[in-house]
Symmetry: C2
Subunit: 599 residues, 2 copies
């Protein structure tokens, strides 16, 4: 790992090489994968895994964040010949909170002209509905297969998901056309490595970052981005508040190989000095254009909060905890009108259609405590989100739906069932949910429990929660902990859904564990550095990396060692034959009712 | 917090006071609870929570580990007049691995004579079946109610559990008599604060500790015990291997207010130089007596592993991962006989009956990987454990059943369903399960997901997993992380089961959060120190402890603040009345189908 002056961490992960798989329909596309090489003694091929880390883990790519990442989509977009470059909206002082001089984050050098549609919608959904397979779609399809030819064991419970043995570009197209998946890819974000979000694909995770009124800087933000995707974040949301928002976001986008989402309302509120009542449609619309031209891939829009929903929160323990939701609720009450997000929703869709910005319909009334989970306010808003989804789809705009929040385990499935039913199977994107309120400081864990379950039930993307949730701003370590924790939740969900590729990594690591291939065990894990460090705290010697025991039991007691001795001994004693006879006879060693318990 | 020379952490937790509730049937019993005091502005009574931490958190109790804890059960045991003190087995050099001189952990000073039954079984089950309510039973019953009078909201899904609104001593008795619960309490462990383990009580957690051949010392072990129960461990298991086992265990027991479990096989194997084939029933039996006289409360016995089960593991990815299971499997194959644990099981029960040692029937064939979950070997052994349970019950011996291990989410419920059916609803005691194999270094999290779910489905006690699982020996921080993580899983399970008292703490903390009572939020959390530290990293000033905002959003953006403003404003606008009308009319603001979504 190389630490750049800007504290960027680049370079390959241990024993890993970046490999690129070309397209078939689009031979020029190069889909990045991470190949994890194993010890020769393993007599196994390398394991190829999904790789969201971008060029930063490719030693052959020179990284300079003031140049940004290479443009890989420009040619595809131009070839479609349905967009034009134009002058674009001039940056206004308000965009950066009127900050000046040394306090102003420098503009990203060499900004190019934005593009927008010349006519009809230029969204992946519009193409999909016309039967077109785009380069983005093939790119995303290849990623989903993780270089896999064989189909793994599929004994999961999918709750109605329909994950194919292999993902084809046409399958991606059809899922997007049906609204069951989105491919967030603003035409002004050509650095993007396309990916797809949907219930019938690998479960994805999002990492939030962003400067705030209280603290944190632009360079930290780009570093957090690179750091978050290094560990597996599939998308990031820039939730910056305070000043320098515009320039910071430009630096993030030009260096982001993953989709970037925002909550435009946050910047709009900054522009009116933080007074919700002073927000107007014109100012909000202008902010949408500003961010659309920069290349933001998805917008969180809290258009589902209706005036008549607000009283439903009156008896809640924690009221309205969504920032966007509370801002709009205050606006609605102050003006006693429906919000401009709701009344101007069609125009919002037109903007999204002209740049291919996906909508992430915000759950402004999500519960903020176990006490408020699944209440009337939450589900009333969800129904409105379903209505808005239909409107967005008439504009060919891609949509996902945001979900809770704080939900005890027994109320989680109802959230997925209702969301699928009310929102036409649009992808669900949930925050956690936290399954208890009593562990601030550990809410990455209280929420990983809920996230794994809601992912299993059908949530397409899980928004991470860090240990600092409710308490403070995540630092570098918190971001990593949040991302790894959510990779665990997403993978546990894929295993339980019976994803054809999910078990390959578990089995490879378990074989390494059983065969005492310590280095392989570290290298195959989600966080090789931590696994190796923990091991070395007790058994530092290099010799122990090949030792046929570990520190838990010591040499004499190692169950795996004994187990291997047993296997060898038993084989001498014809155990294989015995086992063989068992497999034939089925009930030879077991009562009949047990002979079919293989889960 | 006071740090003793022996690194013991004592003293109350923040804003907490130790309170004692007297018995009714047994007025002399004093049941410890932790009272968490809230800020006067809360206008709420203090919250009383379950307290497993023992006298160490009572400032009025002087702690000296060389004196051990006060004897609180001696009089109760004597009053039953069914046991005698006797000379006891002399300590043999082999008990401490023949270690001598400076390397020998000193004997605990002033050992008193052990007691044993003069005739019939002296187990809590024997008393319960005779209709007797013991002091231990009333003690445990009072603990379960956590000083609660009111019954909380019970909207959970209990999967057949039958948790009463309030736990009575008679209910504890009846659950023990039915075998659905155990109260582990060796008559030679008078320092014990009795507690009950069963599906119809609060979900409990166990923390493992123990010296190993590779590292760690006696003082560390007592400190780990005190540290583990400070954060909420309900029982501890001493899994020591290597030397000094006997003396270390004596120090642990004399200072343990919680039940202590062991795997006697580990010490027995030490006595034969780590050669499984050399184990004999006589040596094992002698080890059981040795530990019974010291006061071990429950024994893990791997008697369910039958000779014919071994071939069922031949095709596993990770073979036999249970240490006890692999040792006995090797013995069985070497002698080509059923294990002495199986053939002498009745004698094991007689020993347990004479000291009231609970049996924890070990799952020697539990899966060690996702690939091996719910396989024929695992469930074949589980059926044998069911048969052994019936035998133990004929001896009035209390029994719980150990469970996996590594299990993907979709295969977890089958484990509980089979265990309840095959083992007559004896309490289930599971390790995790880990829901994926790919995150060594984070297995407290991969397993917390499975632990919360399996607890919800009906597991009575969850054995913790620390971040060091598979990699090394847990240190102090790992033990705390493991315990807090498992308190989260157990509490999430209680919430989902609809335990009448579970939500009180969530709601109290959520109210504190909504009202910006930062100190209350910290003090009500499972780990006040970490919550406060994380908050102060971003907002150190004391003033911020009363600030009506936090670092995530800053002053202008705080959704809770805005939400409160909305509530006030809305109240002026008659929102309360609107809300009231909504509640009467039901569908006034919502379509009919939404009016019944209150989860």
């Amino acid at each position: 790992m190389t630490d750049h002056p800007k504290a960027l961490t680049t370079g390959a992960l241990p024993a890993s090489a970046k490999v690129y798989i070309p397209g078939t329909l689009f031979p020029d596309i190069r889909v990045p994968m991470r190949q994890i090489d194993l010890d020769p003694s393993a007599k196994e091929p390398p394991l190829i895994v999904y790789d969201a880390s971008g060029p930063y883990t490719d030693p052959d790519v020179a990284i300079d964040i003031s140049c940004g990442l290479p443009d890989i989509r420009g040619a595809w977009i131009a070839a479609r010949d349905d967009t034009d470059a134009y002058e674009g909206r001039p940056t206004a002082p308000a965009d950066n909170g009127f900050v000046e001089g040394a306090a102003l984050v420098p503009e990203f050098p060499g900004r190019c002209q934005p593009r927008r549609a010349t006519g009809a919608a230029v969204t992946q959904m519009a193409y999909a509905r016309r039967g077109i397979v785009t380069a983005e779609m093939e790119f995303a399809a290849i990623r989903e297969n993780q270089g896999r030819d064989a189909v793994g064991i599929r004994d999961g419970q999918d709750f109605g998901a329909a994950i194919p043995d292999r993902v084809t570009p046409e399958f991606v197209r059809d899922e997007i056309a049906a609204g069951r998946a989105i491919l967030p890819a603003n035409i002004n974000h050509p650095e993007l490595e396309p990916m797809v979000i949907g219930r019938n694909f690998l479960t994805k995770i999002n990492a939030n970052m962003g400067t705030s009124a209280v603290t944190s800087s632009m360079q930290e933000e780009v570093d957090k981005l690179v750091w978050a995707i290094r560990w597996g974040a599939d998308t990031v949301m820039d939730l910056s508040t305070g000043r320098n928002i515009h320039n910071t976001r430009e630096w993030i986008l030009r260096n982001a190989p993953v989709p970037v989402g925002t909550v435009p309302l946050y910047q709009a509120l900054e522009k009116v000095g933080g007074v919700p009542e002073d927000l107007t449609w014109d100012l909000f619309r202008d902010t949408l254009i500003e961010q659309a031209e920069q290349g933001v891939d998805y917008f969180t829009i809290h258009a589902g909060l209706r005036l008549h929903h607000v009283p439903l929160t009156a008896d809640r323990v924690t009221g309205i905890v969504s920032r966007g939701g509370s801002i709009m609720a205050k606006w609605c009450l102050a003006h006693h009108r429906e919000s401009f997000l709701y009344t101007h929703f069609a125009e919002i869709c037109e903007i999204c259609a002209a740049y291919d910005i996906s909508l992430s319909l915000g759950d402004g009334l999500r519960p903020g405590s176990i006490a408020d989970a699944n209440d009337a306010a939450q589900f009333a808003e969800l129904e409105t989100l379903g209505e808005l989804t239909q409107i967005a789809w008439t504009h060919d705009v891609q949509v996902m739906i945001e979900g809770p929040g704080h939900v005890p385990m027994h109320k989680i499935k109802e959230n997925v069932d209702k969301q699928l039913a009310l929102c036409g199977e649009a992808p669900f994107y949930t925050l956690g949910p936290l399954t208890t309120d009593i562990a601030p400081g550990y809410d990455h864990i209280t929420s990983a429990i809920g996230a794994a379950m809601i992912g299993w039930f059908g949530t397409a993307m899980l928004c991470y929660v860090t240990p600092k949730e409710h308490l403070g701003l995540p630092d570098r370590d918190d971001v990593k902990t949040g991302v790894i924790t959510y990779k665990i939740a997403a993978h546990a969900a894929d295993l339980a859904k019976g994803h054809p590729g999910a078990r390959a990594r578990d089995d490879a690591l378990s074989r390494a564990r059983f065969e005492f291939r310590w280095e392989d065990q570290f290298n195959l894990s989600l966080d090789p550095d931590t696994a190796r460090t923990f091991h070395d705290e007790t058994l530092p010697k290099q010799a122990h990396k090949v030792a046929h025991f570990c520190s838990m039991c010591g040499p004499k007691f190692c169950s795996m060692k004994i187990s291997q001795d047993i296997r060898d001994a038993a084989l001498d004693q014809g155990m294989a034959e015995m086992a063989g006879r068992f497999r034939e006879a089925g009930a030879l060693y077991l009562p009949v009712e047990e002979s079919s318990t293989e889960g």
